[in-house]
């Protein structure tokens, strides 16, 4: 047999099954090198067949050639490489701090003060708003529960302790991650894209000392101050609920607050916020310097700076809370 033709005299109506069947037949014929003559088929069917043959055959996606073991290995190598980058960056910062203390680096005080301005005073409005609202929310949630026991006066203790120990530092940290950390990543990323950082280096200036240190120091200096400010405004926010909803007097509310909070607890929050400042600055500068060479990469760097900073804040918070508890027990 060398040739297959069709007799379509009896064919009245057809649907998509016919071309499918014909295609299978065609493949079958081709594998046996038998010619297929579509000449007698209805015109529409011929057209459909031609169309089907003209489109490129979609190969099923090749199962990836890498075995699970290979993938694990690749993942491990990538993780190690990322860890190494992080360690290198940290090491460079420490070395530059050493060079700075010996006066051997190009640290511009003017830059430093402008970063202090941006990370401090200019952040006050947003920190105020968020802190007051967090105080209000804490007080409100607490009040609803405490009212059931007739103990609404302890709202002052709850808000005061929560703000001082956790929320003041945490909220200002998250705000600064989104505000300043992101802008650091964007600034350094843009400089990376414009090759300005390369230009700096060829002029003999280390980008770490010149760009990273002033930014990080500004944040480390400003975060504790912002934290104290946030603590205060949070407590004021709580007092609004106490005064207007729970009918406590202002002096009553603040005397309860004062009795509830100890200086050590304030310090705990302030230490935490200093660490957050370090982490936010680190994440922002690290992601900014890591930025690729396209404008899209700047956006990615900014996003990943915020995510990294917030993850670092939460992890370090858990660690530090644990450590402070150990210290208290000891």
């Amino acid at each position: 047999m060398t040739r297959v033709g069709f007799n379509c005299d009896q064919l009245q109506d057809w649907d998509s099954l016919l071309p499918v069947m014909l295609q299978q037949l065609e493949a079958c014929c081709r594998s046996r090198s038998i010619a297929l003559d579509p000449g007698q088929l209805p015109h529409g069917v011929q057209q459909l067949l031609r169309l089907a043959q003209s489109t490129p055959v979609h190969l099923p996606p090749q199962p990836s050639a890498i075995s699970p073991v290979g993938r694990l290995g690749r993942f491990t190598l990538e993780t190690v490489a990322r860890g190494r980058e992080l360690a290198t960056f940290s090491g460079e910062i420490i070395l530059e701090c050493g060079a700075l203390s010996r006066g051997q680096t190009t640290f511009r005080l003017r830059d430093f003060w402008s970063f202090v301005q941006a990370a401090g005073a200019e952040a006050l409005p947003i920190v105020s708003l968020i802190s007051i609202l967090v105080g209000v929310i804490l007080a409100f949630v607490g009040a609803v529960q405490l009212q059931m026991f007739g103990a609404q006066v302890y709202v002052a203790n709850l808000v005061g302790l929560a703000m001082v120990l956790e929320m003041g530092a945490m909220m200002s940290g998250v705000i600064m991650a989104g505000r300043t950390g992101a802008s650091y990543a964007a600034q350094l990323g843009t400089m990376q894209v414009n090759e300005e950082i390369d230009a700096l280096r060829t002029l003999g200036i280390s980008p770490i000392g010149f760009l990273v240190l002033p930014r990080m120091f500004a944040l480390i200096l400003m975060m504790p101050l912002l934290c104290i400010y946030a603590d205060l405004l949070g407590i004021i926010g709580g007092s609004l609920v106490g005064v207007f909803m729970l009918d406590l007097s202002v002096s009553e509310y603040f005397s309860y607050t004062r009795r509830a909070i100890h200086l050590n607890q304030c310090l705990e929050g302030i230490i935490k916020s200093t660490v957050y400042g370090l982490l936010v600055g680190f994440a922002g500068c690290f992601r900014g310097l890591q930025c690729g060479r396209s404008s899209a990469a700047v956006g990615e760097a900014t996003t990943s700076a915020v995510v990294t900073a917030i993850v670092l804040i939460i992890i370090s918070d858990a660690l530090m809370t644990f450590i402070f508890n150990l210290l208290k027990m000891g």
């Binding site: 190009t106 414009n194 390369d198 280096r201 060829t202 002029l203 003999g204």
Partner: protein
Amino acid sequence: MSDQKSLLQLEGVCKSFGPNLVAAEVSFSLEKGEIGCLLGPSGCGKTTLLRVVAGFESIDQGRVIIDGTTVSTATSHLAPEKRTIGMVFQDYALFPHLSVADNVAFGIRNRPGRQRRRKVAELLELVGLAGQSGRYPHEISGGQQQRVALARALAPEPELLLLDEPFSNLDALLRERLTVEVRDILKSLQTTALLVTHNQHEAFSVADSIGVMFAGAIQQWDRAHDIYHRPASLAVATFVGDGTLISGTVEGPGTVRCGLGVLRGDLSLPCSSGSGVDLLLRPEDVLHVEDAEIQARVVHKSFRGPTILYQLELTSGEQCQALVSSHHNHGIGQWIGIVAEVDNLVIFPQEPA
């Protein structure tokens, strides 16, 4: 041992990104005061090689030596800020918040004020921007930004100046002028420089020696004249300048017979008589003479202002190009007389069919 005279030396440098080899056993050297150029199509690895010299990229094999100091090997790497280099970037990378004078002064911030100001004034004078020192990068034109970038890179008096496609963002006229100016400035300061470009005209007008790169390897490292007139390989011959290959037969020392008659000149390769060769014909080697013996038909023409580049078909069916003054305007399909005048016969042995 490295040659004491050479300021920059690369020895068998290999570099790959993952599976892609971007530099394969690259070796060359630049003498003090020499201007070198890496010329090649985009993606051939020339910019990566420049970044290797600058210290932005590490290398997998080989050595990079600047002024007698080994700065890169497979295991050691000196940071770019510790190498005494200057670099001019493709997009200039000026600091946008600093004025022109501050940009130039940036690399010499540690010098005493008066000395620094004098150096900045001197350099701005040199690049022809003496009156612009107070302006900001966004207020000046691309060509001026380019000069500021050059002045900034030259301010710390680097041993070696690297230029990454420095003229690619400029219009043709300005490019022409700046290439000459840059060469004059570099020569007057006796600065050693390495330039990267995909534009052969830039390479020819700036550089003393040129390396033509393809796929991560330097195919030929030579003087501009020799790159053009004595290309080492077919790839170099066709990348640098226009030209066509026509087949011919060597008839004796310095004599080749081809579709354009018998040509006499210096053979680029010693070839025995009777062997078949491919001969490179540059468009400017083919002259238009009205009553010439050899006639060719115009297949295609492109008007270039003062000249017209004609694509011609010989009676043998082979094609060649001729650069003719645009006073001789011929239509497509017309037969015109041509004479070949070739001094350097660039030939490549024909593959036996």
